[in-house]
């Protein structure tokens, strides 16, 4: 006891000033905030920023698998500019994204509105709608691959049995048919996410608003147009941003169903990048294709960012 007390006495001036410096640091909310952010920032840098940076850097080199590359400036991009397959993949990606996202939105919204009504077997229908979402993508892609198989397609088989066609349809062998098929598969897979999210949004709309509008004389269409739709726009903006991002970067479905064929007609930028970088070993060129997706994704994000910006009615505060 005595020892402790005397040591404490001896060192008091030193510890006192140290403690006050430490106390200042640890109670300063700026520093505290910094320390709290370190782990999250570390994870983000390690797993997001670093690979992104590495990818972009690689696109400026002629790295191949097994051979460290050298800086070549914009050479990869100059190559891509004259590469018709690359431009075809850009076209395919845009077509795929626009058609599939549009269709997913319309069908998803329709299903959400339907499920929001008092249907018989409502919970059963909700469960059914979720199935495509639960099945792993690769599994559903393989199922579609069978459905659209040139020999064993169940569609061809049924149509033949009904006598509507005389020979098998070569679903994945014809460029435009193949595009339609992968888009169909993507829609099938993506609708549940949109339907369920929009349903959640619909359920936040107070039923008394519909009652008030009904008494105000609104028809069913007007209820949707003037009450449901405006109240749903914030959620629509979020869900469509995600949908566009996921569709634009889709890889699994295409790779499992067509590998980009026939004659590159279903190659998306993601699949082409993978093929060039990993299968052909031209890491630099693959990285350049992947990097070329960034401006498109940024544009999509900006678009929804402005779409997402809180509308005036959503926040209280000043009346500007």
């Amino acid at each position: 006891m005595v020892d402790v007390a005397s040591t404490g006495m001896n060192h008091r001036p030193a510890t006192g000033s140290q403690r006050s410096a430490w106390a200042k640091l640890s109670t300063s909310s700026g520093w505290l905030g910094f320390w709290y952010m370190v782990p999250a920032a570390g994870i983000l840098i390690l797993f997001l920023a670093y690979p992104l940076f590495l990818g972009v850097w690689m696109s400026f080199t002629d790295t191949r698998i097994g051979r460290p590359g050298e800086f070549v400036g914009l050479e990869n991009y100059e190559w891509l500019q004259d590469d018709t397959v690359f431009w075809l993949s850009v076209f395919n990606t845009l077509l795929y994204t626009v058609v599939a996202s549009g269709a997913k939105f319309v069908i998803g919204l329709y299903l959400a509105l339907l499920m929001n009504h008092h249907l018989p077997f409502r919970s059963l229908i909700r469960a059914l709608v979720l199935i495509p979402f639960i099945v792993p993508t690769v599994l559903s892609a393989i199922a579609f691959w069978w459905i659209f198989d040139s020999q064993y397609s169940i569609i061809s088989w049924s149509l033949m049995k009904m006598g509507l066609i005389t020979e098998n349809i070569n679903f994945l062998g014809d460029p435009n048919l193949a595009r339609a098929c992968v888009i169909f598969a993507n829609i099938w897979r993506g609708v549940p996410f949109i339907a369920i999210t929009l349903l959640a949004g619909l359920q936040t709309v107070s039923p008394s608003l519909y009652e008030a509008a009904t008494l105000d004389g609104a028809t069913r269409w007007q209820l949707f147009r003037y009450v449901t739709y405006p109240l749903l726009t914030p959620i629509i903006a979020i869900v469509m941003t995600f949908s566009v991002l996921f569709t634009f970067t889709d890889f699994q479905l295409i790779w499992a169903m067509t590998r980009g064929g026939p004659v590159n007609s279903t190659h998306l930028m993601a699949t082409l990048s993978y093929q060039r970088a990993i299968l052909s070993g031209h890491l630099g060129e693959g990285a350049a294709i992947a990097t070329a997706m960034i401006p498109f994704l940024l544009a999509a994000i900006m678009f929804s960012w402005f779409g997402l910006q809180q509308r005036k009615w959503q926040h209280g505060g000043s009346n500007d």
């Binding site: 107070s206 008394s208 608003l209 009652e211 008030a212 509008a213 009904t214 008494l215 105000d216 004389g217 609104a218 007007q222 003037y226 009450v227 405006p230 109240l231 509308r311 005036k312 009615w313 959503q314 926040h315 209280g316 505060g317 009346n319």
Partner: protein
């Protein structure tokens, strides 16, 4: 404006019957309040008038038209909801204009009607705001404004004041009353607050468990409640009920206290009865019955005393200050002409 007739109306949700045959006549321009404890079916009845619930049996007329199968928008009624149900994405002006825009009224008419309603309700400075930017009382007024611009045959209100604080509630009460005197539109108003009912109504409909217990003007219900339920429901604090029997020209409680009666009902000698006595009709009287004070609650203007009258609780309200302490005995009496006798089983009124 129109009268509303409710004839033997019933409502069942599947096999759960919630309204068992209700008859109410509402005259043109009348302010009628449906009042009753929670779950008695007030909102259901109101929503059936509005057309938001279909009618399981009976008939509702608005004006001279049976509206059972008329869709809500053709009934020409306007409703103010408990949560106001303002469209959050529309400004105050758009909220009020919505119904007129839907029926494609011309711009000048819309504007003049909004202007008039906003003038009546003091909403002019708020027309460009969104509901989020309004206080509870202002939202309440916008909800009324939305009803007023419609210029409907009937106004329906479902507990419009229950989300407001006590002071604002009193203020809005007056405003709604004034509004009615000004517009003279037939109004059906639902509340579970009997003070609101007493102060605002031309006519009160007391409901209980899906039936109508009594219909009458506020003072009729106060002075001559038709049964024990109405007697206990109307008036605050509620009426005291003492169990006992009629004996001679008076009433003897189960604890043996003798209370006076103006006139005993004929042929009731010795029969059990319930003696109903309003707290505010009790006075201190050295010649009265002795009761033991249990709790004293002074409110300034008056004093509430909870006392024990030979085993039964009695609540008294005195205008004067009370000096007695808990545990002491005070003597009280009441004017025998202001008491009510009820049947102990059926609760029906025994006195004239």
């Amino acid at each position: 404006m129109a009268s509303v007739e409710i004839r033997d109306v019933r409502k069942a949700y599947g096999s759960t019957r919630v309204i068992h045959g209700v008859d109410v006549d509402i005259a043109d321009g009348e302010f009628v309040i449906l009042v009753g404890p929670s779950g008695c079916g007030k909102s259901t009845l109101l929503r059936m008038i509005a057309g938001l619930e279909n009618i399981s049996g009976g008939e509702i007329r608005i004006g001279d038209r049976v509206v059972n199968d008329v869709p809500p928008k053709e009934r020409d009624i306007a409703m103010v909801f408990q949560n106001y149900a303002l469209y959050p994405h529309m400004t105050v002006a758009d909220n009020m204009a919505f119904s007129m825009k839907l029926r494609k009224a011309d711009k000048a008419e819309i504007e003049s009607r909004i202007d008039r309603a906003a003038g009546i309700l003091g909403l002019k400075p708020l027309l460009d705001r969104f509901p989020r930017q309004l206080s509870g009382g202002q939202r309440q007024r916008v909800a009324m404004g939305r009803a007023i611009v419609r210029d409907p045959q009937v106004f329906l209100f479902d507990e419009p004041l229950s989300n407001l604080d006590a002071k604002l509630r009193v203020q809005m009460r007056t405003e709604i009353k004034e509004l009615h005197q000004r517009l003279k539109t037939t109004t059906v108003y639902v509340t579970h607050d009997q003070i609101e009912a007493m102060t605002m109504a031309d006519k009160i409909v007391v409901m209980h468990d899906g039936i109508v217990e009594q219909i009458g003007s506020p003072l009729e219900l106060y002075d001559r409640p038709g049964n024990r339920f109405v007697a206990g429901f109307i008036g605050s604090p509620s009426m005291n009920f003492l169990d006992g029997r009629i004996s001679g020209d008076g009433f003897e409680t189960d604890g043996g206290l003798r209370l006076p009666l103006a006139t005993a009902p004929a042929g009731s000698e010795g029969k059990p009865a319930v003696y109903g006595l309003r707290p505010e009709h009790i006075a201190l009287d050295p010649a009265g019955i002795p009761v033991t004070v249990k709790v004293i609650e002074p409110t300034g203007s008056e004093t509430q005393v909870f006392a024990d009258a030979a085993g039964q609780q009695v609540v008294c309200v005195f205008r004067e200050r009370i000096t007695a302490k808990p545990g002491e005995t005070i003597h009280i009496s009441a004017n025998p002409r202001l008491i009510h006798l009820f049947d102990p089983q059926e609760g029906s009124r025994l006195t004239h």
